[in-house]
């Protein structure tokens, strides 16, 4: 059967996240962007919503079971408030969810209870690399088997909260496959370089990380000595970023609608002009279409459909254009005012461009 209604539990989660997104994330987004910093108490509060904990099974200290549909709904709603804040809240998940999904029993036991029970802890992950054709399936960072361990070398960028991280999940190419490796703080050869400045996400602290012959024990390979399948992880990253893009685009549309209904031109509201009204109608249609595509891919993942992998990719691809189209038009709807940093639409437009290249900065 088809159904487009979230469950009651999902709706309760959406409502709780929505309050946080609007009252906390959105309220602080402008100042955080200007100052280049998210207040720690803000992230802490998002963490306390317990969304990651609800994706970790009870036996490892969590209180739930991962659902891609729930994850997409939650990420979407949080990003309605602010994308940088949402990514910040999701950072421990970049480390914990892959372990929960494909990690070895030892890895689950070592890390999941710690993360589930702790205060917000910056465990993080490094996947993105500083070259134009960065491709998660063809990484330049290389891992090699060497005796009883692996040696990893390469360059990573856009690693959130890297200096504070207790451990990083670092993705590297091993015999042509992308694999995750758990690298603990202060491992020799691991160098946290400077913070990166980007087009958007000013408030999210992201770092360049270099790896020079970083040696880790064999069992630190994600999934243990046998390794893991990377495809479901990448699909979860793509779905998460897609959901973030949808939430942000919904925010931009709503803001543009509100503005257009308020702003007078030629004796009417600017929304009463078809040139504006049609833009808004197209934005709404675009969002709804790509949102359903993303929901379907998440549902496919939850029900174990093999085509989930490809559909997650299609969803993310769709959100690249959606985010740019919607946020650009939101700025356009506000005209000159849209270009001024007093309104959030220019921030959303800058962040919107990131959907194409920030794969790996979110996971559900």
């Amino acid at each position: 059967m088809y159904s487009f209604d979230p469950t009651d539990e999902q709706q309760m989660l959406i409502d709780a996240i929505q309050r946080y997104a609007i009252n906390d994330l959105r309220a602080k987004a402008h100042d955080a962007d200007e100052e280049g910093e998210l207040p720690p108490s803000l992230i802490e509060k998002g963490w306390e919503l317990g969304f990651l904990q609800a994706s970790i099974p009870e036996q490892y200290g969590g209180f739930g079971e991962r659902s891609a549909v729930t994850g997409v709904l939650a990420a979407e709603e949080m990003a309605y408030g602010d994308m940088a804040g949402t990514l910040a809240v999701m950072v421990p998940g970049l480390f914990a969810l892959p372990i929960s999904m494909v990690g070895s029993e030892a890895q689950k036991n070592e890390f999941l209870p710690k993360i589930a029970e702790a205060e917000w802890m910056p465990y993080t992950a490094a996947i993105i690399e500083p070259h134009f054709d960065f491709d998660p399936n063809a990484l330049w960072t290389i891992a090699k088997l060497d005796g009883d361990g692996y040696i990893i070398s390469g360059e990573k960028t856009y690693v959130p909260f890297a200096p504070e991280a207790e451990a990083l999940l670092i993705y590297a190419q091993l015999d042509g496959q992308t694999q995750g490796f758990i690298v603990k703080k202060a491992t020799p050869g691991l160098e946290i370089v400077e913070r990166q400045k980007t087009l958007g996400l000013y408030s999210l602290p992201i770092y360049k990380v270099n790896l020079k012959d970083v040696r880790i024990p064999k069992e630190n390979r994600l999934g243990g000595v046998e390794g893991h399948d990377f495809a479901p992880l990448l699909a979860s990253m793509q779905l998460a970023l897609a959901a973030v893009a949808i939430g942000m685009s919904r925010a931009a549309l709503d803001y543009a609608i509100e503005y257009a209904k308020d702003r007078e031109v030629f004796g009417v509201k600017v929304a009463q002009k078809q040139a504006i009204a049609f833009m808004l109608a197209e934005m709404a249609t675009e969002i709804e279409a790509i949102r359903l595509l993303t929901w379907e891919a998440a549902w496919m993942m939850d029900t174990g459909k093999p085509e989930a992998i490809n559909h997650a990719y299609l969803s993310w691809t769709g959100t690249i254009d959606m985010a740019m189209m919607v946020t650009d038009r939101a700025v356009q709807t506000l005209g000159g005012h849209g270009y001024i940093r007093e309104h959030p639409v220019e921030l959303w437009m800058r962040n919107g461009r990131g959907i194409a290249m920030l794969n790996g900065l979110a996971i559900i």
């Binding site: 159904s3 049609f278 109608a281 279409a289 990719y313 299609l314 194409a356």
Partner: protein, 416 residues
């Protein structure tokens, strides 16, 4: 719970419909495209027989919920079934789908606006032995989307208790088959009070063989050439009093309820027209992929855009457009099945489907170069067939207007 599982009965029906599409439609697509106004009777007779047996195909599915053996009500899926059926048959050939016998938009209008007695009286003819057609006549030469400007009139002859209809209608899909090739009917929109604008609008069932009704012209079109598009002249055409659709109250009061009846029909039919567009788009995209493969072009999935070839990027973008537009259709018909107000979703899926089918069919012809442009293949035909999806049952612009009003909370007066 959010779910995207195609219901079992629909999956089963789809397999059968695909066989029809491949064997009875694709094989005849070119012939009926090149022989405009010839009628594909083989397809029509087959579909009539098949639909009589299964009861499928009415544009307005039954109201009642069916019960399972344990007494629970099954969820309604009638509109979903239709959307899948129309998608598949349009994947076969959308022009030929349009000549599928049954009530068409005429029956849909009776279902949406008629009383229970009228439904019984008018819809029975579609279940008889001979293929029978129904049509809706709204557009006039000076009134397309602007339906309030309709000039056709209906005057009540109180002595005989009959309506006298006068006017000329154009662009009546299946108008000729409804009036001349079967004992069908056309639902004609006319004004009972030309000074009242929309409030004067009513719809009338005008059966075949009604004196004073003639088909004056069959259009020659860019595409969907298997489907007849008729002009109909009404000259003192008389129909009995009860052929005016709706309750007596609706008939007498000078309100826009009659007009709203027409618009309610659109909420049900727009997603179905969108489903047809999706079928054409899928046909084009699948054919493109097959032809590229046979030419030795490999399509790689999962790459970042910077690493794709131009063709890979085009194809993957088209897949996104196609699937996401189809899901909009499903949501709109799911809402219709669940009796939820779906004007916004109906217009969204209609405008999106119109956009993507024109884009996809135009791009597929371009990508295949001389092969795309050639009449040896069907891609150029689908390019022509596609465009109507962005026009009939409300142009893309009208649907943008509907969506805009909905999201802005505006009336027709606020946003003209």
């Amino acid at each position: 719970m959010i779910e995207f599982e195609t219901p079992k009965p629909i999956q089963m029906a789809n397999t059968a419909l695909e066989t029809v599409a491949i064997n009875m439609m694709r094989t005849k697509s070119r012939y009926f495209d090149e022989h405009e106004h010839e009628i594909p009777w083989d397809y029509i007779n087959f579909m009539h027989m098949a639909m009589r047996q299964t009861g499928a195909g009415s544009l307005a599915p039954e109201e009642k919920k069916k019960e399972t053996p344990d007494g629970k009500e099954r969820p309604r899926i009638g509109y979903q079934q239709l959307a899948f059926m129309l998608e598949m048959l349009s994947w076969g050939d959308t022009g030929m789908y349009l000549v599928t016998p049954g009530g068409g938009l005429g029956a849909a209008a009776v279902e949406a606006a008629g009383t229970p007695e009228q439904k019984l009286k008018f819809l029975a003819r579609f279940r008889t032995e001979k293929p029978t057609f129904g049509a809706m006549a709204m557009t006039e030469s000076n009134a397309g989307s602007d339906t309030a400007s309709i000039r056709a009139t209906a005057v009540l002859d109180k002595e005989k208790n009959e309506w006298i209809l006068n006017g000329e209608k154009i662009f009546v899909t299946a108008g000729h088959k409804s009036l001349m090739e079967s004992d069908g009917f056309v639902v004609v929109w006319a004004s009972i009070d030309t000074s009242a604008g929309r409030a004067g609008m009513r719809s009338f069932v005008v059966p075949a063989k009604t004196p004073g009704v003639t088909v004056s012209k069959l259009e020659h079109k860019l595409g969907i050439r298997a489907s007849d598009t008729a002009s109909i002249v009404l000259q003192d055409a008389r129909v009995p009093f009860d052929h005016i659709l709706g309750s007596t109250e609706v008939i007498k009061e000078p309100t826009t309820k009659g007009f709203k009846g027409a618009m309610a029909t659109f909420d049900a039919t727009r997603p179905l027209v969108a489903a047809m567009a999706i079928g054409v788009a899928r046909a084009a995209l699948e054919t493109l992929k097959e032809m590229l493969e046979s030419q030795g072009v490999e399509l790689r999935y999962g790459l970042p855009r910077q690493k794709m070839t131009a063709i890979e990027r085009e194809v993957i973008d088209m897949e996104v457009l196609l699937r996401s537009a189809w899901l909009l259709v499903i949501k709109a018909v799911w809402m219709a099945d669940n009796r939820r107000a779906n004007s916004k979703e109906a217009s969204m899926c209609k405008l999106r489907a119109g956009d993507i089918v024109t884009k996809i069919t135009q791009r597929t012809v371009e990508i295949l170069g001389p092969l795309g442009f050639s009449r040896e293949y069907l891609l150029e035909k689908w390019f022509r067939d596609a465009k109507i999806s962005d026009i009939y049952e409300g142009t893309g612009q009208i649907n943008r207007l509907v969506v805009a009003r909905q999201i802005l909370g505006y009336s027709g007066r606020d946003l003209r």
